[in-house]
Symmetry: C2
Subunit: 259 residues, 2 copies
């Protein structure tokens, strides 16, 4: 790297030290469940999208902001699932390599080289027609199927595995499909979401009966152009207001549906 044109690093005045977040962004394209991995330029390091929390910012908001800055994705469904607090969570060499590869001049006591406690979130999006963009830091970013992840830096593999575990547990409770599918979808597509997350095949008739009996779906017109067979109905999720968080939930959903 040329030792000239050094850039200005983010200042510790702006952020809380020792505190970071990482996000496991699940995307579904109708076929496969994938997650978003970014690669730091000129380093070969693969990582979950993450960032830092400003001194006067809600952690939830920081994650939303950082995700938009780093991935171009806005207003996506986010849920905190675990905080990783091992004292071994520091990687000064790696962080230095990444920063220097981007032409930053890094002092030995620079705050990003310290130990970090990371609050981890998972996000759910339908990634048809969505093209995540790397940010100005020149990272590349792309989708990887869960069984074809590159080797991830630090404990990001462990974070990813925990995210999937929690996602499975929340599958029915949180109506996960709602966030991963377009507004209207077929029963087959919904089943595919479940199968991808659970990692196993489900029985068609049982699944259909179970979903219909839940009183969460609205049936719409049929979807033609499916092939040489009976056309399936399209469904959407009912927008039920179950609790005090309903309005913000609906915001999420509405925005998601317009992606």
């Amino acid at each position: 790297m040329a030792p000239n044109k050094k850039k200005q690093l983010p200042s510790i005045e702006e952020f809380m030290p020792h505190l970071a977040y990482d996000s496991v962004i699940f995307g579904f394209n109708g076929q496969q469940l994938k997650i978003l991995i970014l690669e730091y330029q000129n380093t070969g390091f693969f990582a979950l999208p993450g960032g830092f929390v400003k001194r006067n910012e809600n952690v939830d908001d920081a994650v939303m902001r950082g995700l938009k800055e780093r991935t171009g994705l806005d207003n996506i469904y986010l849920e905190q699932f675990h905080t990783f607090g091992s004292s071994s969570r520091s990687a000064p060499e790696i962080m230095r390599t990444i920063l220097e590869a981007n032409d930053y001049d890094v002092e030995d006591d620079y705050w990003m080289l310290d130990r970090f406690v990371s609050i981890a979130y998972y996000a759910l999006i339908n990634f048809n027609n969505v093209e995540p963009k790397p940010d100005e830091l020149s990272d590349s970013i792309s989708w990887y199927p869960l069984d074809q992840l590159p080797p991830l830096m630090m404990d990001h593999q462990e974070i990813t595995e925990k995210a999937l575990e929690i996602l499975r547990d929340n599958l029915d409770k949180k109506l996960v499909g709602m966030k991963l599918l377009p507004q209207k979808f077929t029963m087959k597509e919904l089943q595919k979401v479940y199968e991808e997350i659970l990692g196993k095949k489900l029985r068609r008739t049982t699944f259909q009966r179970k979903m219909l009996s839940k009183d969460i779906l609205v049936r719409h017109e049929k979807l033609f152009a499916g092939g040489a067979h009976k056309a399936p109905y399209l469904y959407s999720f009912k927008t039920v207001q179950t609790d005090q968080k309903a309005s913000s939930e609906i915001t999420h959903q509405t925005i998601k549906n317009t992606i």
Copy 2:
């Protein structure tokens, strides 16, 4: 407070700034589910037991350590459940009052007056024969039934409610009864734990059949001295090793059983 005999405050050199933990400690005495609340002397402030994380310490260990220091409880079952990261989580006046009530001299820029992100844990213990002791900071500490909590400072009420919600969700999955009961217990006691956590009565025969069919219980000798009626069997939980964490789980359990 006399302005003499000022004591030395914990230094920011030792701890990570802006990072705290809070713990919701559930205890069961055979009858009622209670949680441990501490009262800061001379202030009237009630709070969950909490503390700070040393710069070179795992967060999990910090919670365990702090709990021992503050409550006298050792090696109890702990599980992280949520991190509270709202930017409004600071209470400089309250913290100053607490510290000054304990004869500390507090500078305006003292780190404990800052905003804190709090990692929340719940703990489960059987509190027969356990007498929590307040620490040297002269707090008093005692058990409160969930429906008779005093007004808690900051967002500690919200933290408590979230803990209970998570505990309910984990009831079957995590074998919560194992941590709250003595090593040997009757079916009625186990049912009582479930009822207290769920906040509703359960049907005796259905509960008994469900528990026995789970293949998690070992039946032991009968417990006499129960009253003018048939004596119930005593049960204990099977110690199954399901995954790689099994050995540490067993440690928890063994230690818990000797409390």
